[in-house]
């Protein structure tokens, strides 16, 4: 697959690049950001995937989170894809209604493989993130295909959790900032799942972290979750971390959940704790 480099900037000794390509899963052009640390010049590095939240593109994370120094020090390649297909860019798949709300459609892929029309052709973010993108990265960049981890924020947090839980052993570690932990029970999730997956709620559970944990068979996971205490969406009941924690406690899945006093849902919150998360992943990726 041909990669087209859109931009490249030197940062903390490494290179922050943005590429564009034609996605098979999504049937449109997609952009993604890649950070190559200094160590990548001389050898293969582990790969850390970041999934952004609602309304974000590949730009928010690389501009606002301040992750570069930590990634550079620990020698990690960080990949940040877009949050949904952007069909209007190509002037192709104009799907009606995809821009109507900020929490559904464009910029709100929810990292599922949609089964409902008109979304099912393009909105296959789950497969894109778990299959197509890693293959692309492994083929084109100096990464070790055996060492991969995933993390994200909000909807991206949800995405990271479900990718890890649905693929035991694929990711060495997982972490999240203010994730949507129990989408089947929160307004966002209900809206998105009914749109992408239909009304059969049993299909929804396949993409719900709290539910997935309950039947998680697999290998040891070490989950780090940071949640701003002053996060409005937490107070609105969109995130529901307690449910997830309770389920993990029961299943003895190791989680450290930190409720951070005074912090909100923004990238300022992410920037504050991003170093802890990168270190968390480095511990497993560089072991």
């Amino acid at each position: 697959m041909a990669l087209k480099q859109i931009s490249s900037n030197k940062c903390f000794g490494g290179l922050q690049k943005v590429f564009e390509h034609d996605s098979v899963e999504l049937n449109c052009k997609m952009k993604f950001a890649v950070y190559l640390p200094p160590k990548a010049e001389t050898g293969k590095c582990p790969a850390l995937y970041w999934l952004s939240g609602l309304t974000c593109t590949e730009q928010n994370f690389i501009s606002k989170s301040g992750y570069h120094q930590s990634a550079s020090e620990h020698g990690l390649v960080v990949i940040a894809p877009d949050t949904s297909p952007h069909c209007f860019l190509i002037g192709g798949c104009n799907i009606k209604g995809e821009d109507e709300s900020w929490d559904f459609g464009t910029g709100a892929g929810f990292y599922v493989d949609a089964t409902e029309d008109p979304w099912k052709t393009n909105y296959r973010m789950y497969s894109y993130v778990t299959e197509e993108l890693p293959q692309l990265i492994n083929a084109n960049f100096p990464v070790d295909p055996q060492r991969m981890s995933i993390f994200g924020h909000s909807m991206g947090g949800h995405g990271a959790l479900i990718c890890a839980l649905k693929n035991p052993g694929k990711y060495k570690s997982v972490s999240a900032f203010a994730p949507i932990c129990n989408p089947v029970l929160c307004p966002w999730g209900k809206k998105a799942f009914s749109g992408y997956l239909g009304t059969d709620q049993s299909k929804w559970k396949a993409y719900d972290a709290t539910h997935l944990v309950k039947s998680y068979p697999g290998s040891q996971l070490d989950i780090l979750i940071d949640q701003g205490k002053d996060d409005q969406f937490l107070l609105d009941g969109q995130l529901l971390p307690d449910n997830f924690i309770a389920a993990c406690t029961e299943k003895k899945i190791p989680v450290v959940f930190r409720l951070q006093e005074g912090y909100d849902h923004s990238y300022y919150f992410i920037a504050t704790f991003i170093t802890d998360h990168i270190r968390h992943h480095a511990k497993y990726l560089n072991a």
Partner: protein, 672 residues
């Protein structure tokens, strides 16, 4: 050549040297004969002379002519032509003779006269020499006898003997009949007229022989006298030795007598007491006997540094005069700083040398020494008093109180001595390398009974301590072993709350079900009063320290660190001098807090840790907690550590927790 010098000496001197009889050759093996043909030659010539004398003496009745002939025969027989040939002769003796025909004719000729000579030779004084019997030439046994005879004769001869060596003579047909004194050679009468002998004095041969014989007899007599004198000397020497032995024995007895306390009350009768005895005669007599004066006072040396042991000192002194000294008396007693009224026991040792190793002393003690010199006339004045000190006893390392980390160790010990010592020395050696490597490092001049020593990480060390005073160092203490892996500390019983029991190894704290009434403790007490807690003794060294605590899932506990002066009346984490992780288990729910100054972040942990790893990092001012089994990081405090902190543990309900030490930091911890 030996014989030449012998001749000269013999001619010039009439008195042989005194101690020259025991010539080495007396003890030579037979073999020596043929190794040193020159000596043999000399011997032979002496023998030759003797035998010649004998032949002349014994054969007085014989015709002079015959004697001459025989002499000549002897001359040739006993090797006068050629030294080397003669040497060969003797060498050849060893070879069993098969046939006589091997030898040149002249040898054959000689043999016969030898046999003839044998019989009459056996008479007379010199016959002693030949007692052994002269075998003629031609048989091993005869050779043997000949050799022995020569040996004996040679032994009695020396270079200094006046040996009239009858020189070689090529011409054997014409026998000599007169003797030229000047040339010391027998010549024929007509020769006197000619040549070199014109001016020389000549005497008849028999006269010459007589005088030669006389000379020999005189020399022998002198030798015998010397033997007697030697024996006398040896006897005298023996007497002196016995006298000295006796004197030493006497001195010993005297010394012993002086040491024993004799409580003998001699009650003298009044009349005796008043009598003045006139000792002047005796004194005069004594004085005439003892002409030597009593010696002058010796000078006692100051103690050589580091020469003492814990129980002995080596005292030395000198005598700066030519006085005769038969023995020294060294006295000593422990230095007392108490009032003079108390008398310490005084000891005395008698020695012959100017030094003495005094043993059976008490360690780390000062002793006063003084010495007097003694001879027959009496004792010298006492020397000055010198103070010597024994080395101290070795210290005893408090092994249970050793604290260490990867970079250093804190050792403390008991002095091992009642009185103070000057300083201590710590010696370390690495345990991996064998004993042969010896001490690798010493820390000297330590003023107190504890020391922090820098070490390399990941090694094992054996540590010894010595005490030092002016007498020298003590022997090494019993060793202690230190491993620089992780940090080692023990729970400090002096800090523990009354409801806690600390195990013998200092690593387990138990809170029993029973509640003993908490006694009223003053605020300055080192024990925890409110929090049922105990503090560990971490080595006061910066850097990082890692230890683990084993807890029960259902146990309510607090684990963390605190400054040494934390208020013991408060809970751990309730003030700004302590940080801890707190676990409470209630209603089947685990609750975790990370407390400092009463505040805690909101943290949920889904899997309760059974073993908690704690990392204290002074460098980065951080205190981190981990779930060891999961390699999971739990929480990190940022703490300003301006002073040293100690690990703290508290049990909020009955149960026990166990500390694990000496663990090197696991890899996952290194990320923090």
């Amino acid at each position: 050549m030996e014989e030449e010098s012998g001749e000269e000496l013999g001619l010039d001197r009439s008195t042989p040297k005194d101690f020259h009889f025991y010539h080495m050759d007396l003890y030579d093996s037979e073999d020596r004969l043929h190794l040193f043909p020159e000596e043999n030659t000399r011997m032979r010539k002496v023998v030759q002379a003797e035998m010649a004398n004998e032949s002349r003496g014994a054969g007085d009745g014989k015709a002079q002519r015959d004697l001459q002939e025989e002499v000549d025969e002897l001359v040739h027989l006993y090797g006068l032509e050629d030294d080397h040939e003669l040497g060969d002769e003797f060498v050849d003796e060893n070879i069993p003779r098969t046939g006589v025909s091997e030898y040149p004719p002249y040898m054959m000729k000689r043999r016969d006269p030898a046999r003839e000579q044998r019989d009459w030779r056996l008479s007379g004084e010199a016959a002693e020499a030949e007692d052994l019997g002269f075998g003629g030439w031609g048989s091993a046994g005869q050779c043997q006898d000949l050799r022995e005879a020569y040996r004996y004769t040679h032994g009695r001869a020396s270079e200094e003997y006046e040996c009239y060596v009858i020189p070689e003579e090529e011409d054997e047909e014409e026998a000599a009949d007169v003797f030229c004194v000047t040339c010391k050679t027998p010549i024929r009468a007509f020769q006197k007229v000619f040549d070199e002998h014109k001016e020389h004095e000549v005497i008849p041969l028999n006269e010459a022989l007589e005088s030669a014989k006389d000379e020999i007899h005189k020399n022998m007599y002198k030798l015998e006298k010397q033997i007697i004198e030697m024996e006398n000397f040896a006897n005298h020497l023996e007497e002196v030795f016995i006298t000295v032995e006796d004197a030493v024995a006497m001195a010993d007895r005297l010394g012993k007598f002086l040491k024993t306390k004799t409580d003998v009350e001699i009650s003298a009768q009044p009349e005796f007491e008043d009598q003045t005895l006139d000792f002047s005669d005796v004194e005069q007599l004594m004085g005439s006997i003892n002409t030597i004066p009593a010696p002058s006072a010796p000078v006692i040396n100051p103690q050589v540094p580091n020469s003492a042991t814990g129980s002995s000192v080596r005292v030395c002194w000198s005598l700066y005069s030519d006085d005769t000294v038969e023995s020294y008396q060294l006295s000593y007693r422990p230095v007392q700083d108490s009032s003079p009224g108390t008398d310490q026991a005084e000891f005395t040792v008698t020695v012959k040398e100017t030094y003495c190793s005094v043993t059976n002393l008490v360690p780390n003690t000062q002793y006063e020494f003084w010495v007097t010199a003694h001879n027959r006339a009496g004792p010298s004045p006492s020397s000055e008093r010198a103070v010597y000190m024994t080395a101290p006893s070795p210290p005893i390392i408090k092994t249970k109180e050793i604290r260490s980390c990867e970079e250093a160790v804190l050792i403390c010990w008991e002095s091992g001595n009642l009185n103070p010592v000057d300083s201590y020395t710590v010696e370390l050696t690495q345990a991996e390398s064998p004993e042969a490597s010896g001490v690798t490092e010493s820390v000297v001049g330590i003023p107190t009974c504890e020391s922090v020593v820098q070490l390399q990480p990941g090694r094992s060390y054996i540590i010894y301590v010595r005490a030092l005073n002016m007498g020298g160092p003590s022997v090494r203490s019993e060793p202690a072993t230190v491993h620089t892996i992780g940090s080692y500390f023990r729970l400090n019983k002096d800090t523990c709350h009354p409801w806690l029991t600390i195990s013998e190894d200092g690593l387990t704290a138990v809170r029993s079900e029973r509640r003993t009434p908490a006694r009223e403790l003053s605020p300055s007490d080192t024990h925890f009063t409110r929090c049922v807690a105990v503090m560990g003794n971490l080595i006061p060294v910066r850097g990082h320290h890692y230890w683990e605590v084993e807890v029960d899932e259902h146990l309510d506990y607090r684990v963390g660190v605190a400054f040494a002066d934390v208020r013991k009346q408060e809970d751990l984490g309730a003030n700004c001098l302590s940080w801890c992780m707190r676990h409470t288990f209630a209603s089947s729910r685990h609750k975790y807090e990370f407390l400092h100054n009463r505040t805690t972040p909101d943290i949920r942990i889904t899997v309760p840790p059974k073993k908690i790893g704690i990392l204290l990092d002074y460098e980065h001012s951080k205190l981190s907690f981990f779930n060891v089994d999961l390699s999971q990081h739990l929480y990190t405090f940022s703490c300003q550590l301006h002073e040293f902190v100690h690990p703290c543990f508290s049990l909020e309900k009955p149960g026990c927790l166990k500390v694990h030490n000496g663990i090197s930091m696991p890899k996952h911890v290194t990320f923090y």
